[in-house]
Subunit: 277 residues, 2 copies
């Protein structure tokens, strides 16, 4: 029933970071992980992965994830947390979940998820696979010391890496395209894909050289691939694109696509992010 | 505190359809409205507007909506429903909500919402306002009998109206661009904007001439405008675009933008939709 490893078997740091222990039905305990630390508290992508995993390993789960929305309600501090799950409704082929991460009496993050059993249907991808030279021909972007989680990903930018203070930004936009994979190598699954969908540098740092406090407030991911398709990707890097549509009034949005290296659209992901100034 | 009218003052059918009566703190009663009926049950956009309104009229509300995710958990039948609200967390400038619509002991729809007080910041819109001739130069798209809600909108397509059985669809895509406004005329606010963000024909009917059962399972809207900006739009039509990125395995996504007629991006909206075949 549970395709995910016990903590003793967590060879990979992502499996350790997303490890949660069932205490009773619909209640898990977990701990934040230093390997996925951010400037303040944990990397949001790993929080999203944890909330999704609470459903993935749930004995009442039906099917596979189609949609996941994570709201970051307030600061999460390093240390222990509780995850609670609730089945809101189970239909013939779809199931709706509510998941909450709390520390003490404070809600740190919430998620709603739609799971479904998929069927073969007519299919079509309208958005185009980006033109991209192979990952091996590009140098790895160096991890950023004050955002520890960046060392947990191998990122190779085709374009749109964070802007440096020296660059001219007059005609710059916020579009990025990069190859990305887990460090160390890890076969792709829904847990790692959910985290990768948040593993983009904030768009404002692609657009402007100035550092300002930022924080994602809401993140929605649509999974277009089933577990079989993710398995075929193995541990090879996926191709990811991200862009902002609008910055203003203290919030900007981001829309992203994640592709397998054989040009299958695995997920699309959207978020809205607070920024200061 | 409550900027929305009493039911006796509901000159507009949208205010009637989204009218909910507070029964006690965090509990409202409402009724579906024939004017916004869909093929089965009510139009999802009005459900989204009702769930948002439950927060908008709540005495504990902080600020204005930034993000709204609505999950359609199961069929909603015509008649009475209950809406419950819960403040999950209130911070200095942001507030997180959970909202649920139920009929009997069945959850029909859920929402999470992020509200915030906005501040003036650096701003930029990276996506372009579509090239569009004025609404007055385009004929209104005729309402569709079996989807009553379509008569509650004046839609004028620049391109991408639902495909007819006679058309050649070989090189067709799912992109639409249209002017849209409420019928009768109604000044824009968050309630009507939330509904408009779901007032697109399902992308599969833009792409293929074949009728199949469909249903949105999850809808996320990011509001980029504040109430002052919405007020300036008045009752003039807004410009809306929508496209699908991927169809497959029984689900397709849709991503949309809604613009004021003076080229301000009011909202971006994303959804994932079930389809059969």
């Amino acid at each position: 029933m549970n395709p995910y490893p016990d903590i003793d078997d967590c060879a990979h740091q992502l499996d350790g970071a997303t490890f949660i222990t069932p205490v009773e039905t619909n209640l898990y305990r977990g701990n934040t992980s230093a390997a996925y630390g951010n400037m303040v508290g944990p990397f949001g992508g790993v929080i999203a992965a944890i909330l999704l995993k609470a459903v993935l390993i749930h004995p009442e789960r039906l099917g596979e994830p189609v949609a996941l929305t994570v709201n970051f309600a307030g600061p999460i501090t390093d240390g222990e947390f509780i995850v609670t799950t609730k089945v809101l409704r189970t239909n013939r082929t779809t199931q709706h979940w509510y998941v909450e991460l709390a520390q003490g009496d404070q809600v740190g993050a919430t998620a709603t998820a739609v799971f479904a059993t998929r069927r073969d249907t007519w299919s079509s991808t309208e958005v185009r696979f980006p033109v991209a030279r192979p990952a091996a021909t590009i140098e790895r972007f160096p991890p950023i010391d004050r955002a520890k989680w960046t060392a947990a990903y191998d990122m190779r930018f085709l374009h749109g890496q964070p802007v440096s203070a020296k660059e001219d930004t007059d005609d710059r936009n916020s579009v990025s395209c990069l190859w990305i994979r887990d460090v160390p190598l890890r076969p792709l699954d829904f847990v790692s894909l959910a985290a990768i969908c948040d593993a983009f540098f904030p768009r404002i740092f692609i657009r402007r050289p100035k550092w300002v406090p930022i924080g994602t407030v809401s993140l929605t991911t649509y999974f277009h691939a089933d577990s079989g398709t993710l398995q075929m990707q193995g541990d090879r890097p996926v191709l990811a694109t991200a862009r902002a549509l609008h910055f203003g009034g203290g919030y900007f949005d981001q829309t992203a696509e994640v592709w397998s290296d054989d040009e299958t659209l695995l997920a699309t992901s959207h978020q809205v992010v607070y920024y200061k100034e």
